[in-house]
């Protein structure tokens, strides 16, 4: 049993992390917040060239020929970097929407009662008829409400969980960074147990979620995916909140990056029918 990442998987993850650090840094993030509803199309094509959307397509079809574990790793990086756009919908459209695999075309799809990035998309999947815009709480995710809920796709749920894992990991890093450098009462606040224990909780939730998400990527089992999403939602939402708390007053400002993580985690937690559906699926499995 070699549950850890292979060298190839590490290379896939590091490559995506490096691309995003170069092409979507703090400045690009602030620019995206300042111009809501717009996608950076050249970045989108660069993602396409790097294989983000064609990752799981067979090589014979011009894809990268990798599997769910690798997809989970690149989506985790996207989550970590707060990369905006209908990433899951476009990735899932790579096989049947021309231009999606290369990043030439952006694809939006209804998920539950919402559609993300509807107005900016080149192709909109079925089920978005009668969509009405709402004023999105997340400045980086424009949202429309749809009348009829869409059936959740397990792969979409898993890739969302991977993004949540990225958020949880990033929230832990940001909280620890701040706790090490911010001084009060003459010492770094991270020396206080009250802060330490918040940070420890962030790590524990992220690592439990990581084991669940990676395992679900290996088994592709519906119950494993449902478990992974519950743990990843919790790690991301509670993680971002605790990160905000560790940042104190600065965490409550628009300028800080922390609120963006929390708001995106809230958006993702709505996907795939929300947590309730996953809880019911896991309950049913107990008596199956």
């Amino acid at each position: 049993m070699r549950f850890q990442l292979t060298d190839e998987q590490r290379a896939v993850r590091d490559g995506m992390r490096e691309l995003l650090a170069r092409r979507f840094d703090g400045e690009a993030l602030r620019a995206a917040v300042a111009a809501p509803g717009r996608l950076d199309r050249s970045l989108w094509r660069e993602l396409g060239a790097a294989g983000f959307f064609a990752l799981r397509l067979p090589e014979a079809d011009g894809g990268v020929g990798l599997g769910l574990p690798e997809a989970v790793l690149v989506f985790e990086e996207a989550g970590r970097a707060l990369l905006p756009g209908p990433l899951v919908a476009t990735h899932l459209a790579a096989a049947d929407v021309p231009g999606a695999a290369t990043g030439e075309r952006v694809v939006a799809a209804p998920d539950g009662r919402l559609v993300e990035w509807l107005a900016e998309a080149d192709v909109v999947r079925r089920g978005a008829e009668g969509a009405v815009p709402l004023r999105s709480a997340d400045p980086l995710t424009p949202l429309h409400r749809v009348p009829a809920p869409a059936r959740p796709d397990p792969v979409a749920v898993l890739l969302t969980a991977a993004e949540q894992l990225g958020t949880a990991t990033r929230a832990c890093e940001l909280a620890v960074q701040h706790a090490r450098t911010r001084e009060q009462f003459g010492q770094p606040i991270g020396a206080f147990q009250a802060i330490k224990h918040l940070c420890a909780g962030l790590l524990v939730r992220a690592e439990v979620a990581r084991a669940a998400v990676y395992a679900a990527a290996v088994t592709a089992d519906r119950t494993d995916i449902a478990a992974a999403r519950l743990l990843a939602d919790e790690a991301a939402v509670q993680g971002a909140r605790d990160c905000l708390q560790v940042h104190g007053g600065m965490g409550f400002t628009w300028e800080s990056e922390v609120h963006l993580h929390l708001k995106r985690a809230w958006v993702r937690a709505q996907r795939g029918g929300g947590g309730t559906e996953s809880e019911e699926l896991l309950a049913a499995e107990l008596v199956a």
Binding site: A191, V204, E207, V208, A284
Partner: protein, 377 residues
């Protein structure tokens, strides 16, 4: 990322399963919790059966993955847990194996593996709990002996133990971590008094041990004099490794039984209860995956359990309490009946966030050793 087992590991699993199916029906009835001599005989007898079948040293010599399979299969088959062999197999034994001299290993290890001797642990003291290094039980050199005086607490199986792995202060002028030594003390030595301690679950699961001028040969010291803290850390890292594998398997079985009980008594119709059990299903599935992750990491690093054990223990001890709280929710008024299943387990689960390092201490460990946050001043 690969969750599959090698053909050799699958073969080990198949042979173990076959052996368990053959021998478990021959085991006598489990002794009652108050029958200490009976419990000792039962637990040692099981260890002897493991020894005869070639499984005795699975906790020590086998690869982490093989150990995982062993613990998973024995729990699933309903085999006895390590019981009275716990300290010998999982604390003192591995410490002696890692730090003892060849003579010490020869003297103590075969007796543990063959199910002949029981060990207990003399670490905590009334005034040294979370702050273990402040322990005050003193050992004074007198010729070839140490003369030990003090008291220990939370000592499981003290009533039936042959040996105690004992931490004593051998240099009271040194900084607290540097004046400690690790001794193997015979429990029948003059001056050793055991007083059972009743837990909130009603049974006497552990004891206080009073030591009054107890003579322990210097030859029974494992590791150098005053190096006992480092020697102890070896033991504690074993404790936080694969120690909970069987329990996670057991918790998943209990959760399934709980869901069936809820279906029978109608509580299943309550969506809040159902979803609570569904969430626990996610929790224990994730804990099983985290166990596999930690085992796989230990395998890759040559068998040394890492600090990942603290992450696991923090989450698991809390999840176990949640599980039995949910059981009480399923049982309703019957949850107050000590004769119903799970009610005593609920009481026992309260120790999990305290024993072997409280959750608060574990969070300090995670924050300081994994996240690198500064130590408090």
């Amino acid at each position: 990322m690969d969750l599959s087992y090698t053909p050799e590991e699958e073969d080990f699993r198949a042979r173990l399963r076959e052996w368990l199916a053959k021998v478990l029906p021959t085991l006598g009835p489990k002794p009652s919790p108050d029958d200490w001599p009976g419990r000792r005989a039962y637990d040692l007898g099981w260890q002897r059966m493991l020894y005869d079948a070639g499984y005795a040293d699975v906790h020590w010599d086998a690869s982490p993955t093989t150990r995982l399979i062993f613990l998973e299969e024995t729990e699933q088959a309903g085999a006895p847990y390590v019981g009275a062999n716990f300290v010998g197999l999982l604390h003192a034994g591995p410490t002696i194996a890692a730090e003892g001299t060849p003579e010490q290993r020869e003297r103590w290890l075969p007796a543990v593996l063959r199910g002949e001797e029981v060990w207990c642990q003399g670490f905590s003291e009334p005034d040294a709990g979370s702050d273990l290094a402040s322990l005050r039980t003193r050992a004074r050199r007198d010729g070839d002996d140490y003369v030990v005086t003090g008291s220990k607490i939370w000592t499981s199986h003290a009533e039936v133990a042959d040996w105690c792995e004992l931490l004593v202060r051998t240099d009271s002028s040194a900084p607290k971590h540097r004046g400690i030594s690790w001794l193997a003390m015979p429990m029948d030595a003059p001056g050793v008094t055991v007083r059972p301690l009743r837990t909130l679950a009603g049974s006497a699961e552990f004891a206080e041990v009073f030591l009054d001028e107890v003579r322990v040969p210097v030859a029974n010291r494992v590791g150098d004099e005053n190096d006992g803290w480092r020697v102890t850390m070896v033991t504690l890292s074993f404790e936080r490794g694969t120690a909970f594998v069987g329990e996670v398997v057991a918790c998943r079985r209990v959760l399934g039984e709980l869901a069936c009980a809820a279906r029978e008594n109608g509580r299943w119709d309550d969506p809040a209860l159902r979803r609570r059990l569904g969430r626990l299903n996610a929790e224990f599935r994730a804990l099983w995956r985290l166990t596999q992750w930690n085992v796989s990491e230990a395998e890759a690093s040559g068998g040394v359990p890492g600090v990942g054990g603290s992450v696991f223990k923090l989450r698991y001890s809390h999840a176990r309490q949640e599980l039995y709280d949910a059981a009480a929710d399923v049982l309703g008024p019957d949850g107050l009946d000590l004769d119903r299943p799970w009610v005593l387990d609920r009481l026992s689960s309260l120790s999990y966030t305290i024993a072997a390092g409280t959750s608060q201490i574990q969070r300090n460990i995670v924050a300081e050793r994994i996240l690198g946050l500064p130590k408090g001043r």
